[in-house]
């Protein structure tokens, strides 16, 4: 027993040491670089800044090129909030009916959910469709794309979760005279809270951090998202490492806040949806 406890300490401390080198040091590196002057950061060394210019760098990143980073931030937030809101509601609707009602439609829907998970989107034909409906290069167009590409995974999680809600609750609501609309929005949606939070967090982080879709479907600088501005900034001035790292730091804050608040719920939701489902 005593030997076990020593082992536990030895392995634990070794794991913590490795984790610091592998996971913590890279983030400290970002922080240090973001606080250096342009020349100091160009050395790329793991050293204390000779001169702390953290706030100056922050202001410069935000204000440069006519507040492009600030505008991109607004775009990214609008994109994420709008896409995730619609996505959660319509994926929950499908997950609910799909689990509860057997019909030929379900067979077809099942096939499409699997296809949506596996099949890589055909990008240029999607550009063509967006141009046809007049939404290419616009934020609403990209919102519709993000919703569509998020559907399959979200439906899968919602459907698995609905199977854990007892049918007797539906029946009670129906006997009380609830319409299908009432049943879904007043009874089912509140019960879906745990999985809805998982879907919201996972999809928000994915959409906020998405690069490939904005690159294809929202080209240009005017209405770019934060990931696009970061990428363009990198290819334009790769020697301004201090500003680049400040930019990375800045746009990692929203996902980080999400994670800190919902850490436990993500694990719980994944457990009920991804593995047992």
């Amino acid at each position: 027993m005593k030997r076990d406890r020593t082992m536990r300490w030895v392995i634990g401390i070794a794991a913590i040491a490795v984790s610091i080198v592998v996971f913590i040091l890279p983030f400290i590196f970002i922080l240090l670089q973001a606080a250096k002057t342009r020349r100091g950061a160009a050395e790329l060394s793991f050293s204390w800044p000779t001169e702390w210019v953290f706030v100056d760098n922050l202001i410069e990143v935000i204000t440069q090129r006519d507040f492009i980073v600030a505008r991109a931030f607004v775009n990214s937030v609008v994109l994420t909030v709008a896409s995730v809101t619609v996505l959660v509601v319509i994926a929950a609707m499908v997950g609910f009916v799909m689990q509860r009602r057997a019909s030929p439609v379900r067979t077809v829907a099942n096939f499409f959910v699997l296809a949506g998970l596996i099949v890589p989107p055909a990008v240029v034909p999607t550009v063509w469709v967006l141009q046809t409906v007049g939404l290419f290069g616009t934020l609403p167009g990209l919102i519709l794309i993000e919703i569509t590409f998020g559907l399959a995974f979200s439906i899968l999680l919602f459907r698995a979760f609905v199977s854990t809600i007892p049918r007797s609750l539906d029946e009670a609501a129906i006997i009380d005279g609830a319409s299908s609309f009432r049943l879904f929005f007043s009874v089912i949606i509140p019960l879906m809270r745990p999985i809805a939070i998982t879907v919201i967090v996972v999809q928000s982080v994915a959409i906020f951090n998405d690069f490939a879709n904005p690159l294809y479907f929202l080209p240009g600088d005017d209405n770019a998202t934060v990931q696009l501005t970061l990428y363009n900034f990198q290819s334009r001035s790769s020697n301004q490492w201090n500003l680049l790292f400040m930019d990375i730091l800045l746009i990692t804050i929203p996902p980080l806040i999400m994670y800190i608040f919902f850490n436990r719920q993500i694990v719980a939701g994944m457990t009920s949806g991804a593995v047992k489902g």
Binding site: A91, V105, V119, A122, V127, V129, F245, P255
Partner: protein, 305 residues
């Protein structure tokens, strides 16, 4: 009318009524919003891609040229190379995520000092965008000024050009991908491992089984659904990958780290829309050919259990 017949009829009426309620409670129009989006922005482009891949296409005009795009794709060495690279990348990343993810999952579900800290810290990279991670590693792995090679130098080792050596670039990016995605693999494994009933382990301990025996005959078989999830998710992600490669090397040096995803983008950028779409169809076929048998196999095994 006999009493029996009335009863049968009453039963049928009740059955019809329940069916009616079900229809009423679970309306099919709930599928509609999702179905419209899926059809317009996913199904139509996918079907259209089969046709457009056979054309010389400018988005406004198209000229039917048959299989010429595909011939070009497989005849030009650098395009063909992207096909091979995609397979290497997909299998290396998902293999490593399964092995390391499982090892870390086992470690982090055992009684360990600092377990909660370790669980959260592994998840950190998932939160940083792929572009951010790419830029960070470009700085860390810089062959001359980078921190990694600097550290190796103090140990007396001359570090290689991680992202600038053509024979190494693709594998380096695969390594970065694993670093970034490990948190999710580990999380899924933790969820799967926690679900295994502790009685099995107690019984094994009573029987005096060795740790290795416990792992291979209890943990490994019972964690199979989690392995399936990790494998499928990381293979799909790995075969489709584009952004990390684009952010670190842009497919270079030369074409050594090009994958189908980056070829699709390059051809699109250059205005070869037909060729780009043919790349998409090739990717579609690769992913389907690999994923369908694997998911069938995993599903079958689950049913047998």
């Amino acid at each position: 009318m006999t009493a029996e017949a009335t009863e049968v009829r009453a039963g049928r009426v009740r059955q019809v009524r329940t069916l009616g309620t079900v229809r009423h409670a679970y309306p099919l129009w709930f599928y509609l919003p999702a179905a419209v989006l899926f059809l317009v922005f996913f199904a139509i482009p996918t079907f259209a891609s089969f046709y457009f891949s056979l054309t010389r296409w400018t988005l406004f005009d198209q000229e039917f040229i048959g299989l010429e795009n595909y011939v070009q794709f497989f005849r030009e060495p650098q395009l063909y190379q992207s096909f091979i690279n995609t397979l290497i990348y997909g299998f290396v990343t998902s293999g490593l995520k399964v092995v390391i993810g499982l090892a870390l999952g086992v470690l982090l579900t055992s009684a360990l000092v600092g377990r909660n800290y370790l669980r959260s810290v592994i998840f950190f990279p998932v939160l940083v965008s792929t572009i951010g991670v790419g830029i960070m590693f470009k700085a860390l792995l810089d062959p001359f000024d980078g921190v990694v090679n600097g550290a190796l130098e103090t140990l007396g080792i001359t570090g290689p050009g991680w992202l600038t050596d053509p024979s190494l670039a693709l594998l380096t990016i695969a390594g970065i991908d694993v670093w970034k995605g490990l948190g999710i693999a580990c999380l899924i494994y933790i969820a799967g491992l926690v679900a295994i009933p502790t009685e099995y382990y107690e019984a094994a301990r009573v029987d005096g089984a060795s740790r290795w025996a416990v792992f291979t005959s209890i943990t490994l078989p019972l964690v199979k659904p989690a392995t399936g999830t990790v494998l499928i998710l990381s293979l799909i992600g790995g075969l489709r990958s584009f952004d990390l490669i684009w952010a670190t090397t842009g497919g270079g040096p030369g074409f050594s780290s090009d994958v189908i995803g980056s070829v699709i983008y390059k051809q699109y950028q250059a205005g070869f829309y037909g060729l780009s779409t043919a790349g998409n169809v090739v990717l579609f076929l690769v992913v389907t050919a690999i994923m369908v048998p694997i998911s069938l196999m995993l599903n079958k095994r689950e049913v047998e259990q």
